[in-house]
């Protein structure tokens, strides 16, 4: 490829500037978190006496262990069940091509566009009448439903790409549908399933609106939902708020840095399909 030298240099320089701009808010938050807890932090500079103890204080007062437990519980409630149900439905719509499946598919596509805010009010009254307000179920059950359009459309797209000859062969050999799914389809669907799992984990962990509306007790929320509650609590102790926010972001960032390849792949594919 013919590459202009100056163009390449300009590209590099611009990219570095953008990377700095991307990291700046997070670096600012870190420098703020290290200032004395009882003062309004001062500007963007490395404090002369960094207060690492703020993290320990925030860890305790923010109930990070409880929060980790709650978020993990919510993720474990949402992700596996969503994967199972969307695999079955995606297989039926994409591979078995059941009669009437087209209508279901169009309905799900429309479901993709519904902003959560448009239906959060009826969901609140629904969950309330089920007696589940202020429990983790109040977040788990609606999220499975709200993510279902995306999950099924995602899995259907995978199953449409699998040649039907494969299932026919399995069937001629006498495999039941269940055997075929378990032995032939699931192994083939692993890449699609793991990408979907990553996306669902991320969206659930970072979900804010549902826990805010449906769960009063911050300790029973998702990580992001709890962060909203700290804001009021730490209004006069900004360094502790920043420390808390950084602690809460840490688990996802660590997982992201380790699995960044898979994360980026999943997010890119997710963008294309969503």
């Amino acid at each position: 490829m013919v590459v202009n030298k100056t163009e390449a240099v300009i590209g590099r320089v611009v990219l570095v500037v953008v990377l700095i701009l991307t990291l700046l808010p997070l670096a600012g938050m870190l420098s703020g978190a290290l200032q004395p807890a009882d003062r309004i932090p001062d500007g963007f500079s490395w404090p002369s006496d960094p207060q690492w103890g703020n993290f320990a204080v925030a860890f305790r007062t923010a109930h990070v262990w409880e929060l980790l437990g709650s978020s993990t519980l919510i993720v474990l409630g949402v992700v596996p069940l969503s994967l199972l149900l969307s695999t079955l439905a995606g297989y039926a719509l994409g591979n078995l091509r059941i009669a009437g499946g087209r209508v279901v598919f169009v309905l799900l596509l429309l479901g993709l566009t519904i902003p959560f805010e448009a239906i959060i009010i009826p969901i609140y009254y629904e969950i309330s009448s089920m007696g589940l307000l202020n429990t983790q179920w109040a977040v788990i059950l609606p999220l499975i439903g709200l993510y279902m359009p995306f999950s099924v459309v995602w899995m259907r797209a995978h199953f449409v790409g699998v040649p039907t000859e494969l299932s026919e062969a399995a069937r001629i050999d006498g495999a039941s549908v269940f055997q075929e799914i378990r032995r032939v389809q699931i192994p083939l669907a692993m890449p699609a399933l793991s990408s979907l799992a990553i996306l669902l984990f991320l969206w659930t962990w970072n979900q804010f609106l549902l826990p805010l509306v449906l769960v009063d007790d911050p300790d029973k929320r998702t990580m992001a939902g709890a962060l909203g509650a700290f804001q009021g609590q730490y209004i006069n102790q900004l360094p502790l708020l920043f420390a808390g926010a950084l602690i809460i972001m840490l688990p996802t960032i660590v997982i992201y840095v380790i699995f960044q390849r898979q994360f980026i792949k999943a997010l890119l594919q997710g963008a294309v399909k969503g």
Binding site: G145, S151, I264
Partner: protein, 333 residues
């Protein structure tokens, strides 16, 4: 022949098998051809498969119906009533819808959401295009990996955390003002989120910060799929970078751009997390958006019917924005 033997001899289909369906079929069939228990008639098996198919769809549909379709229908129903959420409700027809479009405060949330499209869609897609064009020739290596990882970071952290980080950027003693001071522009310093004129662009730029990385990487992937001979031909024809961009890059990225415009417009219209964390809609009504208005109306002002009507209008706005983009992208293919 027992099942055990069958699984043993049944090799997992491989990628190669996928590429060549005939061979795959053969591979999947090894060792089982001897199994000839009375096969059901074709018709019966078709009906059987249809039944099983619907059985598979039903659990997913049950969740979708219970937590999306049913609430949606209920929201439409609520939207025709005046209801405080507890007591009796009064049928008011389309009154709530009229109120959304005549109440200046509610109307302003819609206008703000439309302005946010500049920050959530136009800026990220435009800067994504510029960046992707500039770095398209970058060789893979440690720097490229670090760049990708960092660009995606805002997608990974909760928007609430982004909001908190940026509140501090914009604060009176925060990073933005410190930087302005250090380059001699200290007279510009202010509390950016507290100013009536600056708050909306300030929260908008948080959206740009979150979405630019996604746009850049997706467009970069798209550029990678463009035939390099097109670039060579353009250069040989003496095309400058702008001509090359307009005649080769832009047409090649139509699909990606359509996708990005769709998801970022939805993000702009239904923004909530960032604004709730940074300004809660203030000062005054300067950063009010539909999400915040719906939340306030329903959960602090007990105007459930009005809030529901606004929710339905928000959904209509999203559909109005998204459907034409989808049709346009599809038609030209």
């Amino acid at each position: 022949m027992t099942n055990d033997v069958r699984t043993h001899e049944n090799p997992k289909p491989t990628a190669a098998a996928l590429r060549r369906p005939d061979e795959g079929a053969h591979a999947a069939g090894v060792g089982t051809s001897a199994r000839r228990r009375g096969r059901p008639s074709v018709q019966r098996s078709a009906r059987h498969r249809l039944a099983i198919g619907w059985l598979f769809v039903l659990p997913a549909l049950a969740f979708f119906g219970t937590f999306v379709i049913y609430p949606l229908i209920t929201a439409v129903q609520y939207s025709f009533y005046r209801w405080n959420g507890i007591g009796a409700s009064t049928w008011v027809g389309v009154d709530n819808y009229v109120r959304v479009f005549t109440d200046p405060e509610l109307l302003i949330s819609i206008v703000n959401a439309l302005i946010l499209i500049v920050f959530f869609t136009v800026i990220p897609v435009a800067s994504g295009l510029a960046l992707a064009t500039l770095i398209r020739t970058m060789r893979p290596g440690p720097f490229a990996t670090v760049a990708r990882t960092v660009l995606f970071l805002p997608q990974i952290i909760p928007l609430v955390a982004a909001g908190i980080a940026w509140s501090w950027m914009y604060a009176q003693t925060g990073t933005v003002n410190t930087l302005l001071d250090s380059v001699g522009l200290g007279f510009l310093a202010r509390s950016w989120l507290a100013g009536f004129g600056t708050a909306l662009p300030a929260v908008g730029l948080i959206g740009s910060w979150v979405l630019t990385g996604l746009c850049t990487i997706l467009l970069l992937t798209g550029i990678g799929k463009i035939d390099t001979s097109l670039y060579e031909a353009a250069r040989l024809d003496g095309a400058g970078w702008w001509r090359e961009f307009v005649t080769v890059t832009l047409p090649g990225l139509r699909q990606e751009i359509a996708v990005l415009v769709t998801i970022t417009v939805i993000a702009a219209l239904s923004s909530f997390d960032i604004i709730y964390t940074t300004t809660k809609g203030g000062p005054g009504t300067s950063t009010l958006v539909p999400g915040i208005s719906i939340f306030r109306l329903a959960f602090t002002q007990s105007e459930v019917g009005l809030a529901s009507a606004f929710g339905i209008i928000l959904l209509a706005l999203v559909l109005l924005a998204v459907l034409p983009i989808q049709l346009l992208a599809r038609e030209r293919d």
